[in-house]
Amino acid sequence: MKKENKPTGYASFRSFLRAVAGATLGLSAGLLICRLVGESPIKVLQVLYQSSFGSGYDFGMTLFYTAPLILTGLAVAIPLKGGLFNIGAEGQLTVGALAAAWAGVLGAGISSPALAVLFATFFAFLAGGLWGLLPGFLKARQGSHEVITTIMLNFIAAGVTAYFTLYTIKDPVSAQAETISIPETFHLKPFAVFNGAPMGWLIFFLILLAVGIHYVLWRSSWGYSLKALGESEVAAETYGISRGSSWMSSMFLAGGVAGLVGLVEVLGNSHRFKIGFSADYGFVGIAVALVARGNILGVLPSAFLFGILQKGSASLDLETDKITRDLSYLIQGLIILGVSAEGLWGWLWKLVRRKNA
């Protein structure tokens, strides 16, 4: 009976601990493999540490990788509350990024930087949001499975954005597949302390955004409906929660949030839309949300972890003789496995208890 009296906060803390333990376990397995290929695990850890915290630039770059993953992690975690699996963050962020670049082209006359950024934010959010709304609508209306439709829309997004990039707002001077660069007013200034890494105030905005979404999901009737729907479709419907509007609104929000990757990339980094700029952020976002166990705030540390790994994968290739890019992807995979292997945890827990008993 004592056990049942534990407050909810405790449960989520325990879940957090489990996630941390899982990540540690996965990392250890990864290090073991490094050892097997002949690289010292301590050195690997040193490289990872240096590559993410070694200098202002390194830390800035780590945050630069973290930022889109916060957004895509949220884009997966939000619909997940309502029981939808959004595989389409990649498409949504692509469309959002193009829209941000386009906003730069359209808003060339805007003289106030604040207004310019707001304008681009609106465009990016709206474009990504509509791209997310579409599968939500199809699911609500036709029952089309969101996994299928979001995957298909990823391809369509790639095609559509490529078309506009190459034929509509292409930079005529550049030999690359990229749009015209956006005016200076649209640029987000990086922190000087990051010494060239393209990240500034935006990271704080993103953290606030995650906190805000967490708050709304927890406090609002809308968030409640979504949660109830994710928990039990039948119960939600019985008590008058509309599946359609919950699904569509959550997918719109998710798509919009993914679309804000455009701020990170277009306004903050390359100042234009480049085909193929995304380091598969949309897909890594799935892993980010999984490792966060669908918890909105959990997305923040989870995204940071993946940011470190993404940044570190290049450094490991550079600093060691044996570890290649692929091996560092393997480590990422092991961490995901470690965190998501629920059954494994139950088993280990039993083992420990049996020993204690």
Partner: protein, 343 residues
Amino acid sequence: MDMEYSSCWRFGVARVVLILSGMFSVLGCGAVQASEIRVGLVLERSGKDDKSFNASAYQGLKRAEKELGLTTKTVEAPDNSAYETLQRAFAEKKFDLIIAVGFHQLEAVKNNAKRFPDQKFLLIDEDAKAPNVRSVMFEEHEGSYLVGALAALHSKSGKVGFIGGMDVPLIRRFEMGFEAGAKKINPKASVTANYLGVTGDAWNNPPKAKELALDQYNRGIEVIFVAAGNSGLGVFDAAAERSKLAIGVDSNQDWIKPGYILTSMMKRVDEAVFDSIRMFKEGKFETGLVRYGVKSKGVDYSLDEHNAKLVSESDKKQLEELRSQIIGGKIKVPDYYLVQKKK
């Protein structure tokens, strides 16, 4: 007592710090002999196994390593934002020369060239316009012109085809040169062009490339020039299946389906890399833009045992004639980049 305790504690902390700093200083060291030249190579995402562009750069580096005796380190970028970080890491480790392969690295090279003004860079396929960067660009249209001419020589009907990977200006440049070359030999020649797509997948979709090639062959096209990275393999398959001809790209691909690959439009990235390193070693490294065209054989058609039976002596003669006309300025091969800029 207090004193003793605190000094003991301080000693402990100092030790830990010492050990830790020792651990972390393992990093940026590595014994460097002053005399040895160190070259860092930053490859694109597709990496050193792409059987084409990056692979060629890697081969150039390996050859230089062997023949010129230097220390090299190759890294493959995990994403398009990592170029700057990787170049920067090489620069901070004081590598003597940093080679950046592919037009994606332009921005990164520009930024780093400014940040490290004493550092020498080599950039392939784009012009960084910086005083400490040697930029190498290939005149793909000239090479394409030559293979276009050869294609027309091998097409009785005058029908030739072009299959491009992603629809980007670079590939348009191939197409435009190819068409001009074909029309030079046969003014009535017609070029049918298809592109595989507008996404990165276009470089890696042999089945779709095969479908397009079969379709073109069905329409009576006799020779297809394919500039589509890995997807080209599908076109070679189709050529072998229909006993028609195809033309490869970037590196010498004649060996892949001997007898069905008329020639390859080679982009000698390996030569450019090797040459630059050699110059660097000899102290003759020149920065600024260098164009590798048909003159320096930086772009060229391939000739080897695999296509010896296909390319006749008279073919060769005509192609060499065209080459000298291009070098002499008698022939102006249309350049998509310039056409675009004029628009």
